[in-house]
Amino acid sequence: MVWPNNPAGAGCRAGPYRRHIVFVSEILSEKTGGRMSDTQTAAKSGFILPRFDKLGVLIAVIALGGVLLPFMIFRANRIVLGEPRMIFEALATPEALVLALLLAAGMVIALLRFRAGLKLAASLIILIALFVLVGRSAYFLTPPDDNFARISPGAGFWLLVFAFALLAADALTRLRLKPWPRIGILALVALAFGILLATGSLNGVSTLKEYATRADRFWSEAQTHVLLAFGSVLIATIVGVPVGIISFRLPKLRAALLNVLNIVQTIPSIALFGLLIAPLAWIAATVPGASLIGISGIGVAPALVALFAYSLLPVVSNTIVGLQSVPEAANDAAKGMGMTGAQRMGWIELPLAFPVILTGIRIVLVQNIGLTTIAALIGGGGFGVFIFQGISQTAMDLVLLGAVPTVVLAFAAAVVLDAFVEMTSTGKPQ
């Protein structure tokens, strides 16, 4: 049997001495005093009451809430009010039993101080099981030959996903994995969900029914979304890094520029999108050829410009901060050994500033993946199209068809870029 880890020494086997330490710290942390005699007898007999993991308690409570709320929602058609289905109503009994057992085991593992590796494995298994069973449940609940019924995950399902995603995230933090293993785990999770989707296991779920009726549109909006989010960050990087370099060298320009960019950053996003309609429409109408290359008051152009404007400040300011963080002595030595300004920039300053610049790019990429949804409001396209359609039709499934891929994309971008930032930080003291 694996002993629950104690807080004092991760991975340390509980020898008699160690038990004594645990016992003392337990008394110290035991404010009520009511259970003190319990613990004392336990220590005397050599048996330790399992200690609870604080975050684990929270996770277990959330998961318990998930179990008590409806697992699935059944609607006879797309617009009628849903009827809740609890786990044992939503699944065939054997599957429901499996899920119940898995959840119980997961809650115990979350509650107690097990190794982070075990917690990670448990949480990933449960997450995948949850999605598989949602797919099974959708088939189980759909009446035969019924094309109108809509089966969607209920609040209970989402709470369970949240609880065990939290467990996975906590375990990952504790494992302190190196960048490549982190990307590896992300790839494995992506692969697992890819398989689930490709095999059609989830096709009965309402959101995927929405997808099925507009698959072509989904992929073209996905393309637009990626194009807008990544394209705006790419342009912001191409423009922002040189601007950062120049204003780093010219302190007066720096102050003025950062002020302007700060103001842009405070304009609410919808307002900024809206503000751009008039000038761009004017350009399209007056500059010959402008409309030919796609510039117009509404559509992709103003969306791209607005996203670019939002990205510029973090890229420019992180470039400046990164360059400022280059050790004075290293810079002085570089100059003293006869490097020209350009050589210093290329060999010393930019490489040392790079992790900070990359952090800026990560911030704007994640931010823009989310912000791009708003572009739909001015005809820019992207996943926001489904979200706003869904809102106007009060079709939650359609909202999710836009929201879920956006969140997944932002999350994946954050994980990958965080890993890159860490990989490039080798020169810095830890």
Partner: protein, 310 residues
């Protein structure tokens, strides 16, 4: 030879280096000493034009430094600073190879030179070449800093408090190593320090600076025995003067015929070491040995007469 000719630097109205004139002989060590803020660093940095003088001129081997591009000038002059200034993202080998790379040396020549320097500074190339600076101790980082400054075999080496961050034991070892290397390659060294002890130990000549002015430029003996101003005397410390003077000469020059009792002292020891040994063992004379053979003696009387200005 470095000729510094009435060099002046002022920032706005403040004069930081004030009409300094001095000539540094080839293959000699010039120690620039003074309190913090006296303009030592500024003077040093004007030699390789990291600071452009307000007026005056600097000539190296007769050639005005303004006749070459600043960056070309700097590649010919070694530069080592306090806190070593190693590039944190580049390996020890890459750091040392900086100037050879700037000068366009080919790969094999550069690599051979890096190996040679690592060995010279007692750092095993196999072990240290690919390490990052942060994986070295303070003393090792400092040695790599000096090795990097010497990479392209410069005739001149400028050093700004290079041993400032080292603890006393490593510091004196580093000083010895520097002197050995200086003698071997006959490098002209200009070394800035705020420590008079270090200046006396390392310098063939000492330049004492205060508030931008050069107070005295002379050999250590002269500085100790004939300080030009009360400030110079204060820098040396009146109570220390006899011992500092003794520390400048070696036993070899003062051996008398005859012999004395007790353990001998080596001919290469300083008079200060001999004096300390005499006091400690309560003797009036010490036998002097060379390669284990006693060749004569040195007496307390003789030491006393050398512990004051001649």
């Amino acid at each position: 030879m470095i000729e510094i000719d009435a060099i002046t630097k002022s920032y706005d109205q403040t004069v930081v280096v004030d009409h300094v004139t001095l000539t540094i002989e080839p293959s000699s060590v010039c120690a620039v000493v003074g309190t913090s803020g006296s303009g030592k660093t500024t003077l040093l940095r004007m030699i390789n034009r990291l600071v452009e003088p307000t007026s005056g001129a600097i000539r190296i081997d007769g050639e005005d430094t303004r006749n070459t591009h600043a960056y070309e000038l700097r590649r010919k002059i070694g530069y080592a600073i306090q806190g070593h200034g190693l590039f944190p993202h580049r390996s020890v080998g890459q750091n040392i190879a900086t100037v050879p790379k700037l000068l366009g040396w080919d790969k094999d020549k550069t690599r051979a030179r890096v190996t040679e320097l690592l060995e010279l500074f007692q750092l095993d190339p196999a072990q240290f070449r690919d390490r990052l600076p942060r994986e070295l101790s303070g003393g090792q980082q400092q040695r790599v800093g000096v090795a990097r400054a010497l990479a392209a075999k410069p005739n001149i080496l400028l050093m700004d408090e290079p041993f400032g961050a080292l603890d006393p034991v490593i510091r004196s070892k580093a000083q010895e190593d520097l002197l050995t290397i200086q003698r071997q390659f006959e490098t002209t060294i200009v070394l800035v320090t705020h420590d008079m002890e270090e200046a006396i130990h390392l310098g063939d000549k000492i330049a004492v600076m205060d508030e931008g002015k050069l107070l005295q430029f002379a050999s250590p003996q002269q500085i100790i025995s004939k300080p030009a101003t009360p400030f110079v005397a204060e820098l040396i410390g009146t109570g220390e003067r006899p011992f500092k003077l003794l520390s400048l000469a070696r036993v070899g020059k003062f051996v008398e015929p005859g012999s004395a009792e007790g353990d001998p002292i080596d001919i290469s020891a300083t008079l200060r070491d001999a004096y300390a040994e005499l006091l400690w063992s309560g003797r009036a004379a010490l036998p002097v040995s060379e390669k284990g053979q006693v060749i004569g003696k040195i007496t307390l009387d003789q030491l006393s007469s050398h512990a004051r200005p001649q």
